[in-house]
């Protein structure tokens, strides 16, 4: 599973998307939602990158940017060394990157049999025998093609529909699959079934996943590395064990502390974070987290921290003045208090 190839399969640089907010008497653009603001990361072949963050932090927008469902304002996307728009067309890119959405029902055309839904992509991309592919995949995701091929989405349970969506994403044999909260709407027991399926498929087809979720347990289970987003930015990016051992960014730490405890004798006593996630319309200057951060200092309001390795050559990256010895933060270089 670990990548031997050092070159990343997918490389994202400085991705930006600002949505205009229209309003006022003349309906002019009043403000911009900085949904994604300078996101960069690499994903190696066969790796699974987990993305976590609060609601509205730009996870889905990032995912949609990756397959061009939302147009980039800025930034580059490179797949297998080819840059989107320069070396490779969007259409071609979409053969290699596919996506599974959260709402299993809304992501299937209610007027199409599930077989047609799965085969559609293959047909569009001109692959041979789209129906045969679809039937095989249907079997592969655990649904008997004989019984299910002709059914309509509303005749399936949530878990079954999500399997269809996975099959649909796989029909073009993509290299990368983006899963945007693909299991969040499922019941716990069904979620486990689907996670098992995802693991199997990854192994069988050598897939690379970008797995978006707000459930840290799930992300930990499936991912190799975790990317933490806050207000459209990456605040921490690290291998899963490393981040589980030490959350370098105060926000990551709060996020982890917000997980309900599983120990009846050791329940959470103090909320790790107060208030709601702030508004991406007018993000605070400097470090975007400083308004909710217990360790914020003046420098956090003034200067924007950059994402950098914790130590030379470390795979654990963080964007926080605490970890930058030269930042001028009172606790700079000391890391987080225990």
């Amino acid at each position: 599973m670990s990548a031997t190839d050092t070159r990343p399969l997918l490389s994202v640089r400085d991705l930006k998307k600002h949505f205009p907010i229209k309003g006022g008497i003349l309906g002019r653009t009043q403000a911009m939602v900085q949904a994604v603001d300078g996101v960069s990361f690499d994903v190696r072949a066969g790796e699974t990158l987990g993305i976590v963050g609060e609601s509205g932090c730009g996870k889905s927008t990032t995912a949609k940017l990756l397959i061009g469902l939302v147009d980039r304002d800025e930034g580059d996307i490179e797949l297998g060394g080819k840059t989107l728009g320069r070396d490779i067309s969007l259409r071609a890119l979409r053969r290699d990157i596919q996506m599974v959405f959260q709402d299993s029902y809304a992501s299937l055309n209610p007027r199409m049999t599930i077989l047609d839904s799965i085969a559609f992509g293959a047909r569009v991309q001109g692959l041979d025998d789209p129906v045969g592919r679809a039937r095989r995949l249907l079997g592969r995701v655990g649904l008997n093609p004989e019984r299910f091929a002709g059914r309509y989405p509303h005749e399936l349970s949530g878990g079954q529909r999500q399997r269809i969506n996975i099959a649909r994403a796989l029909v073009m044999s993509p290299k990368v699959v983006v899963l945007d909260e693909a299991v969040s709407a499922l019941d716990k027991s069904v979620e486990a079934q689907v996670l098992n399926l995802l693991s199997d498929l990854r192994a069988e087809f050598g897939l690379t996943y970008i797995f978006i979720s707000h459930d840290l347990n799930v992300v930990r289970y499936i991912s190799d590395r975790i990317l933490v987003m806050y207000l459209g930015e990456v605040v921490e990016l690290a291998p899963v064990d490393s981040i589980w051992a030490e959350q370098a960014h105060p926000y990551t730490r709060s996020l982890f502390s917000a997980m309900p405890s599983m120990d009846p004798d050791n329940r959470t006593e103090k909320p790790p974070l107060t208030g709601d996630p702030p508004n991406p319309i007018n993000p605070p200057p400097g470090c975007r987290f400083h308004t909710r951060c217990a360790l914020a200092a003046d420098v956090c309001k003034a200067r924007h921290p950059v994402l950098a390795p914790m130590a030379q050559g470390s795979a654990h990256w963080v964007a926080c003045h605490l970890h930058d010895a030269a930042s001028g933060h009172p606790r700079a270089g000391q890391g987080m208090p225990a």
Partner: protein, 327 residues
């Protein structure tokens, strides 16, 4: 001590194009001041149980049987004024999606005050004072201003706080909470859970908290009842359920939580899907999905085993130590 709430042999059946046996022979006891988490998959009948307690089910389309007493009074016989003062006065409810459960065209202040006026018979101005006080108690910043806000002007977390303030405004003795944190972000969820815990202590009321997230149940409850197919399959103190789950379904749920699972390891997923409940179950409803099912499980309803005080498990093999064989 008399129980605050006692449910005996409750059955709920929905009639219509399709019959649904939503609740089947459910019994439950809640002592005053106790916090019980009702845990179960979607469709297991958690919400229906709560609605039955408030008599909120559509009367024409439901068959109800069984006995429900609240503090000694049979609530199935309540009607008119008595029913109204029971609802919202003695027992109140917090809903899953506060965005849908609040009237969109009244300010939150008006909505809280209205309840208080109806139950306490006080003036509007006084009721507004109570409302303001409640908003302070649920830690809503700048409560005076929020009082005049409409629900859509508040964030999800805020709205759920308002919902809680509304539910507690008349100092009920029992609070029913139907997945109040499911729609919220993890960071907000924990805030709400802690708030509820604190208010429960302060008001001393009993709480039934519906959730499908074991972690949430652990955070909030003293006791847990696990529901499956309209029945309680296991009940006990939170500690016992977490440390020593006896019912295979409870174990499956715990495993699915992924808390302690090794990365990349195969998950002990419960296979299959819950029954449709079009027929009343006459054998263990979990048997078709159960790795340990015996022929006897498919033949008749399982016996209720009571391994300890106030602990029960509806499983033939509750006393065995079972190990799931990995596939």
């Amino acid at each position: 001590m008399t129980p605050l709430l006692q449910i005996d042999g409750l059955n709920v059946r929905f009639k219509g194009a399709r019959n649904v046996h939503a609740i089947n022979d459910l019994s439950l006891t809640l002592m005053p001041g106790e916090t019980l988490a009702l845990l179960g998959e979607s469709g297991s009948g958690k919400s229906v149980t709560l609605k039955t307690l408030l008599r909120l089910l559509p009367e024409k389309r439901t068959d109800l049987s069984g006995r429900v007493t609240f503090d000694g009074t049979d609530i199935m016989t309540l009607s008119g004024r008595a029913l109204r003062s029971y609802r919202g006065g003695d027992v109140s409810m917090v809903f899953q999606d506060p965005g849908l459960a609040l009237d969109p065209v009244y300010t939150v202040g008006q909505q809280i005050a209205e309840t208080v006026m109806r139950h306490k018979g006080i003036s509007r101005a006084d009721a507004m004072e109570v409302a303001l006080d409640m908003l302070h108690r649920v830690r809503i910043p700048s409560a005076e201003r929020r009082l005049k806000n409409y629900p859509h002007e508040l964030s999800g977390g805020m709205r759920q706080r308002v919902m809680i303030a509304l539910a507690l405004a008349c100092r009920p003795r029992l609070l029913l909470a139907d997945e109040p944190t499911t729609a919220l972000d993890a960071t907000v969820q924990i805030q709400i859970l802690l708030l509820m815990r604190e208010l429960q202590r302060e008001f001393g009321m009993g709480v039934i908290f519906v959730t499908h997230d074991i972690g949430v149940a652990v955070e909030i409850s003293e006791r847990i009842a696990v529901m499956y197919a309209g029945q309680i399959v296991e009940e006990g103190s939170t500690r016992d359920i977490i440390r020593d789950p006896r019912h295979p379904y409870t174990r499956g749920l715990l495993a699915a939580n992924l808390h302690e699972v090794a990365r990349g390891a195969r998950l002990d997923a419960i296979p299959g899907a819950p029954p449709s409940l079009e027929e009343r179950p006459d054998s263990c409803p979990f048997a078709p999905r159960c790795a340990f099912a015996l022929p006897a499980c498919r033949a008749a309803l399982p016996p209720v085993v009571t391994p300890g005080p106030r602990r029960r498990v509806a499983c033939l093999r509750a006393d065995e130590t079972l190990e799931i064989a990995h596939a």
